[in-house]
Point group: C2
Chain length 257, copies 2
């Protein structure tokens, strides 16, 4: 009999070439470091699947990763102790927040119902200090109301091809369902920032960062809110705004049944 081990991970993406292992094995990835820790603990190679393949430099607070192992390997293993052991084996910038067990057919990727990302923007002439590595700093102020109006066009089921970095493979859909795009003022570490929260069933490559870059075009006054509907309709990456920098993005939470 087998079981899925499910890990909730936080990481600082600054040092990593993204979550996913790369063909070029010299590239340091979160998955590579995590699988090294799991292989040390279980004494054999372990293959993992994740809920969201974050890009280079993107952070995570609630990434979810699963791997299937023989039930016998978990005999006598207390989840709280496993958390401590794995954190002793991972680098300081990857933290195993929690572990749980699921049936062997559970997949962190395919069973995810929705994914939440948050993007921090600091505006104004003063650079952020504590948020420096966790936000996009833009000197110009942003019109939040205009951004909120623009965001309404993105909610619902749409073809997000204009928001996808890579050309989609033949026959692969670029339809996605976005349930929320909200923008709020927050204070984090004593510094003010804008947080763009995006929740959807699944996301295309660089989709959240392209949404943010596009909303910022509106917030900065370069475009009207209704332009976002045109961008969606164009089904062309060149129609959208720039890809916002990786350091502002955090993969926040994944929901399962």
């Amino acid at each position: 009999m087998q079981r899925s081990l499910v890990l909730t991970l936080a990481y600082n993406g600054a040092a990593y070439a993204g979550f996913a292992k790369q063909k070029d094995e010299r590239l340091v990835t979160v998955q590579g470091e995590l699988e090294k820790a799991l292989a040390t603990y279980f004494r054999h190679p372990v293959e993992t699947v994740c809920a969201g393949r974050t890009d280079a430099g993107v952070h995570a607070l609630g990434q979810v990763v699963s791997c299937v192992l023989d039930e016998a390997e978990f005999e006598g293993v207390i989840p709280a102790h496993l958390v401590i052991s794995l954190n002793a084996l991972t680098p300081d910038d990857i933290v195993v927040k929690a572990v749980r067990f699921e049936s062997p057919d559970f997949s962190a990727r395919f069973d995810a119902m929705s994914r939440e990302y948050r993007y921090r923007i600091v505006t104004g002439p003063v650079p952020p200090l504590f948020l420096k590595d966790f936000a996009w700093w833009r000197r110009g102020e942003l019109d939040i109301d205009a951004m909120r109006e623009a965001a309404t066009h993105l909610v619902g089921e749409h073809d997000f091809k204009s928001f996808c970095k890579t050309a989609s493979a033949e026959g692969k859909t670029t339809m996605r369902y976005v349930s929320e795009v909200s923008i709020a003022h927050e204070e984090q570490m004593g510094e003010s920032c804008l947080v763009v929260k995006v929740i959807g069933n699944a996301f295309l490559h660089s989709m959240v960062r392209t949404i943010v870059g596009t909303l910022v075009q509106v917030g900065a006054g370069h475009r009207e809110p209704a332009w976002v509907a045109e961008v969606l309709g164009a089904r062309d990456r060149n129609a959208a705004g720039e890809t916002a920098p990786a350091c502002g993005l955090t993969f926040w939470h994944v929901s399962y049944e």
Copy 2:
């Protein structure tokens, strides 16, 4: 005629041997870096005075620094532009948040009415990730109610000699007035922490960190809340708890008339 230039500073203390310049000029200090930036801008050496001489590794969100300059040097200087220029001259981990002008007899140190420090503690088996460099991580849980009861003994005017790292010079008072010691749960960067807020007229060397280390003795169940009154009465540093690590402390705010 002269005027005081008053700067509000944030800094990440990790790379610095404290705020104040040291006799050993090889030590990198916040004051040293700031005075270098001011000397470059004004084209002559500038001497600064600060509201609180933070220790090595301690952070600041609202440190206040003043220097006296000839009024002629400010002719045509727009504060918002000065902020931008100074931030271009300081390292990334020192940020000039704001500048203002005051009369030449203003001193960031002697005119400060009260100073606020905040200390972050993360508890539990899971290490902090985003708060790693800004909090004291302790695996054991803390009894907040006991810490709050203990904290009441510290509020008011007391001789805080037991909470002072260095032996006070002959004739120097160790009496200080503490107006608030509060403890709250907060979420910062998506991670839970305890924040110990301490406000007082002025502080002795390592006083806040010794207060935190002492309250933690109570929170961990090693001592009763009333023990803090005994510590105060002892007037002996050995009576108090350990000095909490520097990275958890941030010099938060200074109030003037």
